[in-house]
Amino acid sequence: MASPAERRERWTDDDVDQLLGNLLRIGVIVATIVAATGGVLYLAQHGLEPVNYRVFRGEPPELRRVGGVVREALGLHARAIVQLGLVLLIATPVARVAMSLVAFVLQRDRVYVVVTAIVLAVLIFSLTGGVPG
């Protein structure tokens, strides 16, 4: 157990747990609100059109990259707003790992700074399109 003096200086595991819990909750709530807003807009515009997911065409290029998604969403394109919400959702666990990294640095836990940095590197490698399609 950390003494009160230590507790003030460094973060305890419990403090970190509370922070991670809040981050995850906020991430999911914000992502859901953004995606649902886009969804309502999409249904209002295209709700009565016929649907077809039987044939795989793949998403258009602007919905495959984070930059394109943000640009289209700012232009108030409904499907891009939904996609922005989904991108925020995918980013939530990544932000959690980044925050764990900061916490381990503040706790001066060298081994786990390295472990967490490896996980974060793999995630960034994936999200920046490091793996060929």
């Binding site: 995606a35 059109e49 649907v51 997911y53 795989f56 959702l89 995630l123 490698f125 399609g133």
Partner: protein, 278 residues
């Protein structure tokens, strides 16, 4: 079918999957892909993309509550995430290389295994002594809340658990599922973590694992916003409702019923994979 009707039906189906998944503890993610492909005729690739997104939502939503209760072992989770994220990259890479028929057959096998697993009682092997040397060096041993206060536990078989997590990550990236069943197997049975610790830590890891492959699926155009949204919202709402009503439910009967549903889906998935046309 109109977009409005399709969206409503998919959201309803996803809600039921999330509800049953939470009530039985099997997770709803595993039935999302078969439901979308078999019931709604959705292409397997879109189905996997939508499932992956819903897995991240439920994992992060539930982890928010669990982390605060003090069950989750963040160090074990972080260490094993090295294995699951690398596995997930490999799985997502493979998904673009092998045909949809092969993926459907592998999916069927994983469904059958999960159904079998869910009917087998597992024994808890918690002890506070004889930790693996690596567990001591990496400070994996911890305590967890019990009715008699916080109890210590020692972590075993770190390398074997790590290896099984590579496989769990690979399947997660290939099939768009959480691979919770395999993760719990590695953590309860090999590493001897207490049940509550292994399920919550597994759940904590699932979101990060899925995010590793979701980036690749997004870049390939497998994540369709108008399909993924009703799936994600439905599963999330179902899982949250399931967690609320968990106390009063007869889970033994429910588990049998759900396992039965999973077996039927597995057989259909296998048939479709062999015949082609997924």
């Amino acid at each position: 079918m109109s977009v409005l009707l399709f969206t409503g039906l998919v959201a309803g189906g996803a809600f039921s999957a999330g509800l049953l998944g939470a009530l039985t503890g099997l997770g709803g993610g595993i039935v999302i892909v078969p439901m979308l492909t078999l019931l709604f005729g959705v292409d397997l690739r879109y189905a996997i993309g939508a499932s992956l997104v819903s897995v991240i939502a439920t994992s992060s939503g539930a982890a928010a509550a669990y982390v605060k209760e003090g069950y989750t072992n963040v160090r074990v989770g972080m260490l094993l995430e090295i294995a699951t994220t690398i596995g997930a990259l490999g799985g997502a890479y493979l998904a673009g290389r092998i045909g949809t028929s092969a993926i459907a057959i592998i999916f069927a096998i994983v469904l059958l295994y999960s159904a079998y697993r869910s009917t087998q009682p597992l024994a808890e092997h918690v002890s506070s002594e004889d930790a693996h040397p690596l567990a001591r060096r990496l400070r994996l041993n911890s305590t967890y809340p019990t009715p008699n206060g916080f109890q210590p536990y020692a972590v075993q078989a770190v390398p074997a658990g790590f290896g099984l997590m590579l496989a769990a990550g690979l399947l997660s990236g290939l099939l768009g599922i959480g691979s919770g069943a395999l993760k719990v197997l590695a953590m309860d049975q090999l590493m001897h973590l207490p049940f509550k610790v292994s399920t919550t830590t597994s759940n904590f890891m699932i979101g990060v694992t899925a995010a590793a492959s979701a980036g690749i699926y997004l870049a390939r155009g497998y994540i369709d916003p108008s399909l993924a949204l009703p799936v994600m919202l439905g599963v999330l709402a179902g899982a949250l409702t399931g967690a609320r009503v968990l106390a009063g439910a007869n889970t033994k009967v429910l588990r049998r019923v759900f396992a039965g549903v999973v077996v039927v889906l597995a057989l259909e998935m296998f048939y479709k994979g062999v015949r082609g046309g997924v």
